[in-house]
Symmetry: C2
Subunit: 283 residues, 2 copies
C-alpha cells in the first residue's frame, strides 16, 4: 500500500519565518518595529494558547505581540473600545481579535471597528469583500495558510485543478474557495446540507477539510492521488486530531498535511508575515 | 421531444414591482420619496439603455431616478466627486454607478466612495464582504435577480441542490455562488480555466450561465431536468442572444429563462426594490 507524502507544515512555517525575519530586519533599519495587538477574552483557552504560540514565534523574529485580555463578561462595547485603542495607536500596525467570539458579542460590529489596514486576520467586511472582487489585501490567517501549503511545488499547478472545499465558514471555507477560484482552480463548496458528499469530495484533485469533526474525511471521500489539506484541530483524549482519518487517507492521497504539524504552524507564520506587511505599508 | 417550461422574467418582475409600489405608497405617507442616483459615462450605450429602462420602470411606482451623465473622458476623481455629492444628498437614499467602467478609471476606488447604506447595486467591498460572512445587505442587482428567479416555487428547494455557476465575475458569478451556498446549495464555480466543463456543468440540477459568450451552453452541458438561468445578453445581428443555446437546451432542461424576458426585467425590478429598502432604512 503506497503512503502519501507528508506536506510538512513545520518546515514550510520555518521558511516563512525566515522570510519574515529578513523583512523585520529591513524595517528596523527604518526604525519601524512591527507590533500586533491580539484582543482576547478570559476563559477562551484555545484563543489564549494560540495567542501565546504567536507571541513565542514572533519574539525571535523581532515582531512584538501585545496580548490584550478582557474579562470574560466583557460587552461588545468593551471589545470595540479595546480595538479602537489599538486602531488609534500609531505604534501598532496590526490587530487581531481572537475568533470565535462568545455568542453574547456582536462579532460583525467588532470586526467593523478594525481599521482594514491593520486587519491582519481579514475579519473586516472590507477585506472579505475584496475576495469577492477577486483581489486580496488581508485574508484570514488560516485561509492564507491553506493557500501557502497548496502553493508548494510538489502540489502541482492550481490552474485548472478540480478542488473541493468541505466547510463554508467565513474564516476558512468561503475564503479558501474564493482564493482557489482566483488561482484558476474549479472549486466546489460542500457543507452539512450537501447530498452525496463522498462522490463529490472524490472529484477533488485538491481536498480541503475544514468541518470541525474529528476524522470526518474517510478514504471513500478521497480521489486516489489527491492533495488533502486537513484544517481540523479537534482536541480528543488529550491530543489533537484532524478532520481527516489520517491513516486511512494516507493510503489513498498523494500529499497530506498532518495534525498537528500541518496547517497550524503555517497559520502562525503567515499571520506574522501579514503583521510585517501591515508594518511595511504603514509608512 | 419535451420542452422546458419558461421561467417568465417579465411576470416575476411584475410581481416584484407590485410589491415595490405598495412599499413606496407607505413611504409616501411618511413624506419619503425613494430616489436613486445613477452615475454613468457618456458613450456607455448599454449603460444608458439600462438606466433609461430603470427610469421607465420606476416612474409609475413613484421611485425617482436621477441620471447623472459624465463626459466620456471623466477622470476617477470626477466620478468620485459625482458619487460623493449623491452620498451627501439627504434626498437621495440610493446610488448606482453603471458598470463596467472604462479601463482608465479605478473602479475599486469609485466603489469605495459609495456609502454602503446607499449602495443598492452591492459594489462596495463592505457589501461584497458580507457575502463572505454569509450575510447580505445589498448585493449586485443581477445576482439578486438570479436568486429571485431561483426562489420561484416551480424551481423546487435550493437546500441540498447541486448548483453549477459558469462565470466568476464580481457582479454575477462569485456573488451568485455565495448566495447559493448561503441557501444551502452545493455550488461549483466554473470559468475559462475549467477543464472538462461539459461533464461538470452536467452535474448541476441548477445551472447559472454568466459567461458573456452567445449560445455558449450547449445541450451536452445540461443535466436532463435541470433549471437553467441565462444571464447573458449578447447583442448579435440586431437582437439579444443569451449565453445558452436556447432551442437545444429547451429540449433537455425542465425550466429555462428566455433572453430577452428572463434575468433582465427581474434585475430592473429587484434594483428598484433595493432602492425602496434603502429609503425605508434611511429613517
Amino acid at each position: 500500500m503506497s503512503q502519501a507524502q507528508v506536506l510538512d507544515g513545520r518546515a514550510i512555517a520555518k521558511a516563512v519565518r525566515e522570510e519574515v525575519k529578513g523583512r523585520v530586519d529591513r524595517l528596523r533599519e527604518r526604525n519601524v518595529i512591527p507590533r500586533c495587538a491580539i484582543v482576547l477574552l478570559e476563559g477562551d483557552e484555545p484563543g489564549r494558547l494560540y495567542a501565546e504560540q504567536i507571541a513565542k514565534s514572533a519574539a525571535p523574529l523581532g515582531v512584538q505581540i501585545d496580548i490584550r485580555q478582557l474579562p470574560s463578561e466583557a460587552s461588545t462595547n468593551d471589545v470595540v473600545v479595546a480595538v479602537a485603542e489599538a486602531v488609534d495607536d500609531k505604534q501598532i500596525q496590526a490587530i487581531m481579535v481572537q475568533r470565535p467570539l462568545p455568542a453574547h458579542l456582536d462579532a460583525e460590529r467588532i470586526a467593523e471597528e478594525i481599521d482594514p489596514r491593520k486587519d491582519v486576520d481579514g475579519a473586516h467586511p472590507y477585506n472579505q469583500g475584496l475576495l469577492v472582487a477577486g483581489e486580496t489585501f488581508f485574508v484570514p490567517a488560516t485561509a492564507a495558510a491553506v493557500m501557502e501549503l497548496l502553493r508548494q511545488p510538489q502540489v502541482g499547478p492550481l490552474d485548472g485543478a478540480r478542488a473541493v472545499v468541505l466547510g463554508r465558514s467565513a474564516v476558512v471555507g468561503r475564503p479558501v474557495a474564493l482564493l482557489l477560484t482566483a488561482a484558476n482552480a474549479t472549486v466546489t463548496i460542500c457543507h452539512s446540507h450537501t447530498k452525496g458528499l463522498p462522490a463529490i469530495a472524490r472529484e477533488g484533485e485538491i481536498l480541503v477539510a475544514a468541518v470541525g469533526h474529528p476524522r470526518f474525511v474517510t478514504a471513500e471521500m478521497v480521489k486516489p492521488g489527491a492533495t488533502v489539506i486537513d484544517v481540523g484541530t479537534n482536541f480528543i483524549d488529550g491530543h489533537f486530531v484532524g478532520d481527516v482519518d489520517h491513516d486511512a487517507v494516507a493510503a489513498i492521497a498523494r500529499l497530506l498535511t498532518p495534525v498537528p504539524g500541518g496547517v497550524g504552524p503555517v497559520t502562525t507564520a503567515v499571520l506574522l508575515r501579514s503583521v510585517v506587511e501591515a508594518a511595511e505599508r504603514s509608512r
